[in-house]
Symmetry: C2
Subunit: 338 residues, 2 copies
DNA sequence: GCGCGGCTCTATAACGTTATACAGGCGATG
DNA sequence: CATCGCCTGTATAACGTTATAGAGCCGCGC
């Protein structure tokens, strides 16, 4: 099949080991022989057989990014950056779809892909601290996004409570008093939903506004349709909200749709804020005010940390890194001038 | 590190080869020994080292899906299905981002990943028949989506001309006369753009409408922003269009945004149609009429064909498969009742 | 002149798997 | 009873790479 080290060695009249050393610089090689080998490599068009290399090295060169939904634009944007970063560091990133399924998350955590991948970046939604702590697999693991804290693994995330707080603060600042939250999972195990509700409650309290449980809408999932349904229910209340904060941009966009169908004006009647800053929200009508996490920072940091662990490098600094976020004001909460 | 065949063999008191045969059924094994081996496998928790297997078999178990933009929801939806299908057939799918770059497409075609993957599904946008024909790599290749015809490879796509034709026909049917097209690349090499423009022209001709080159807007890329800019330019014409057909849903959504900003009503002043049926268009305001390709069929077919080729199976039927599409009427062209 | 260290390079043993060639046993067939 | 073929199982040679041990050579210092 392909050209192997042996072919190069014969061509250049040197030993196998020398070719290997030229190719990956493990030990120095004399200038003259180096050139001869290099020439043979170029002429025959050699590229190493990765399966063999990995077998020998005990690594596969693959890392997995496991996310709950590939379709969610937030994760798609994150994935794109992560793929590029990994490629730049000599690794191939494969996407793993957990479909927000607890069993799938547990399987990955337990090492179902142990022999396929060198490391795992996981965005957990249905598992918590306990499950992570009791894992036995020794594949390096980096957690992103959700609230699994105090575990001996790298964890990259925004401060969910603070982000939520900032969103509500903004709605308060533009004069809203009946602020709803869409995307709670009261009995559920979605960690970040709890955290975002907590931020919501804290911000209300800080503003001296009452917490009304009827304004906290639970959803089964976190897509556009879920947001739309929840908004419809909220509008059916005797005293509907004058502002809504969605668990994420998709939910918020679903809410926008429900408001449009019901003939309400945004932001005049109801203001809307989301989280994620997906591109869709920059082109919706109205455009969507949102909390923008630094996706580039999250993705790159996660990949770099993981690879550092794989390669046994010392990683400075704390395990948990909170990446910055900022509020981006758009039409759905009224432009600053108006 | 992990448990190897050898460990199992020792534990069960049989030879290496027998364990291998139990594990992957290459040759029959007696019932008694099979059970003993199976027990050892279960007890020690063995799973095969894929690098070694791949080295020996000459395959990696990886296939790549190379697309021009991971961020485009159309491709994200496609990718999700493809990943699942591939996993079901025992392969891992890795995403490769060509970023619509000609060099990247050529490199992949030329086999830059030869040693990493067993096969490639490519959505070409900057290369054509010639480039595919002159490729020397022997890795199985399946083309999807764009117009590279008459090449000795599997090719899964919708009939771009017919799809475009159907969209225009619909706009004609609801009484529009000045129909614009957004997303042409006159000098460019985007094949499907040419085909969709052709369908546009044919449908105009069939309806007895004149072709006006000023109503064909060229764009550099095919995202929301490109659609928005092009629409703005079209609105600046002395006699603006009363309908717009976008190269894809993203472009159409950008057009919707430009129309909203300029204060035009959709569909009363301008009707809008896209292609792809991405979920975003079911929640935009107004919702977007679109040509819906069968994404599940495209993705699954592409993966199945590729794997069949990799495994040397005979594949019945023609190389080129045109998958069905249908028009989905939504608010942006007026509901059927109104 | 001898020994020693440094510099290049070579030979070779793994890594864990699968496919091939082969060996032994046992029943059926002539 | 010899022969053939089938059924189980074994031994072993690859697959292509990298790391380790060591061989040869040269110059330097004693």
């Amino acid at each position: 099949m392909g050209v192997s080290l042996k072919d190069i060695a014969e061509r250049a009249g040197v030993s196998l080991a020398t070719v290997s050393n030229v190719v990956n610089g493990y030990r120095p090689v004399g200038e003259r022989t180096r050139q001869r080998v290099q020439q043979a490599v170029d002429e025959l068009g050699y590229s190493p057989n990765l399966s063999a290399r990995h077998l020998r090295r005990g690594r596969t060169g693959l890392i997995a990014l496991a996310i709950p939904e590939l379709n969610n634009p937030y994760f798609a944007e994150l994935a794109e950056i992560a793929i590029t970063e990994a490629a730049g560091l000599g690794y191939t990133l494969v996407m793993e779809n957990t479909a927000a399924d607890r069993g799938a998350e547990l399987a990955l955590l337990g090492g179902s892909r142990r022999n396929t991948i060198d490391g795992l970046i996981l965005s957990p939604v249905r598992i918590g601290r306990q499950e992570v702590l009791s894992r036995t697999a020794d594949t390096p693991l980096v957690l992103i996004g959700e609230g699994v804290y105090d575990v001996p693994h790298d964890h990259i995330a925004i401060d969910n409570v603070a982000a939520s707080h900032a969103a509500i603060q903004h709605l308060v600042a533009i004069g809203r008093h009946r602020i709803a939250f869409i995307g709670a999972t009261p009995g559920g195990d979605r960690q970040s939903a709890h955290l975002r509700v907590r931020g919501y409650r804290e911000a209300l309290a800080a503003a001296g506004l009452p917490y009304r449980s009827r304004l906290v809408a639970r959803t089964d999932a976190f897509g556009r349709l879920d947001g739309k349904r929840a908004m419809r229910d909220l509008l059916a209340l005797g005293d509907p909200p004058d502002a809504v904060f969605g668990y994420n941009d998709l939910v918020a966009i679903g809410a926008l749709r429900a408001l449009a169908e019901a003939g309400h004006r945004v932001p005049e009647d109801v203001a809307v804020v989301g989280i994620d800053d997906i591109e869709e929200g920059r082109f919706s009508t109205p455009t969507l005010t949102t909390i923008a996490p630094d996706k580039g920072e999250i993705a790159r940091l996660a990949v770099r940390r993981l690879i550092a662990r794989i390669e046994g490098a010392e990683v400075a600094g704390p395990l948990t890194v909170q990446t910055p976020f900022r509020l981006i004001r758009r039409e759905s909460t009224g432009t600053p001038g108006g």
